[in-house]
Amino acid sequence: MVQKINHLNLKIMENITCNAYLFFDGNCREAMNFYQSVFGGTLNIQTYGEVDKSCPDAMKDNIMHARLSGGAILLMASDDPGSNRQLGTGKIQLALGGNDEEKLRRIFDALSTGGKVGVKLEKQMWGDIYGDLRDQYDIQWMVNISAK
C-alpha cells in the first residue's frame, strides 16, 4: 500500500506549475516595471477595475494580476493594499497551477491539513477555480485550476 501511494505521488506534480507570486502594497506596477528593466520580457497587467466593474474607486487602479514573461524569468504579482503585507510580511506566496482539477484539489486538501484555508477552492469571477491557504508551517499557497 505504501508503495502504491509513493507511486501516485511521483506523478502528482506532472503538468502542474509551481511559481512564486509576489504581493505589493499598491506599488505593484512600479515594482514590475523595475523587474522588467532587470529581466526583460513582456509585462501584461490587469487592474481590479478592468476585471470587476463594481470594484470601489480606491481599488480600481490597483493591480489584480501582473505577469512578466518571455524574458529571463517568469514573475507574477498583484497589489493587496491595506493588508498586513505593509508590515513586510507575506511578500511571496507559492502559486500552483494547472488544469487537472482532481489532482489539484487533492494537493489543496493535503496542504491545508493542519493549516488554515483562506479562500475556499471554488469557481471565481475570472472563470477559474481558485483557493488559497496558509499551511501548518505558515507558508502561503495559492491553487488555480484553469477553466478547460
Binding site: 511578500k91 496542504l111 507558508i139
Partner: protein, 139 residues
C-alpha cells in the same frame, strides 16, 4: 527562461516541514545538508542537526528548497521566502545581483562560497528577497 525556485526559511523545523511537503508532492530529496556539515562555519550549540540546505525536486521542473533560520531577530513568519535564480555565468550573476540590489539592501555580496559555487542574497527596494547563484558544475 530561467527557472525561479522558491527558497523557504523555517525557524528550526525545516526537516518536519519538508517531510510534509514530500508527502504532498512526492519525489525524493535531492540534497540534505546539516549545519554540522558546513566546513569552517561556526554552528551555535544545539543547532548541529538543523538543516543548512534541503531540496525537493518537483516534477514541474522547479526545486522547492529551504533551510533553518533559528535567529528570532531575522526570521519573520510570512516573509520567510526568497526567489532563487541561477545565472549562466559569473558576469551575469554579478549583473543581476547589482541590478536587483539597486536602491535595496545587499545583505550578502555575490561571491564564491565555501561550498564551491557563487552566491549572493539581497532584499530589493520593494522588500522582496532574492538569491543569485552561479554554479560551474551546472554549466
Amino acid at each position: 527562461m530561467k527557472v525561479v525556485n522558491p527558497y523557504l526559511n523555517f525557524p528550526g523545523n525545516t526537516e518536519e516541514a519538508f517531510n510534509f511537503y514530500k508527502s504532498v508532492f512526492g519525489g525524493e530529496f535531492s540534497m540534505i545538508t546539516r549545519m554540522k556539515d558546513a566546513q569552517g562555519m561556526p554552528v551555535p550549540e544545539g543547532q548541529e542537526e538543523k538543516i543548512m540546505h534541503i531540496a525537493l525536486p518537483l516534477n514541474s521542473g522547479q526545486v522547492l528548497m529551504a533551510s533553518d533560520n533559528c535567529n528570532a531577530e531575522t526570521f519573520k513568519t510570512g516573509n520567510n521566502a526568497y526567489l532563487s535564480i541561477h545565472a549562466d555565468s559569473v558576469e551575469e550573476g554579478k549583473k543581476l545581483y547589482d541590478a536587483l540590489s539597486a536602491g535595496g539592501k545587499a545583505a550578502h555580496p555575490f561571491e564564491k562560497q565555501f561550498w564551491g559555487s557563487w552566491h549572493g542574497n539581497l532584499t530589493d527596494k520593494f522588500g522582496v528577497n532574492w538569491m543569485v547563484n552561479y554554479d560551474e558544475s551546472r554549466q
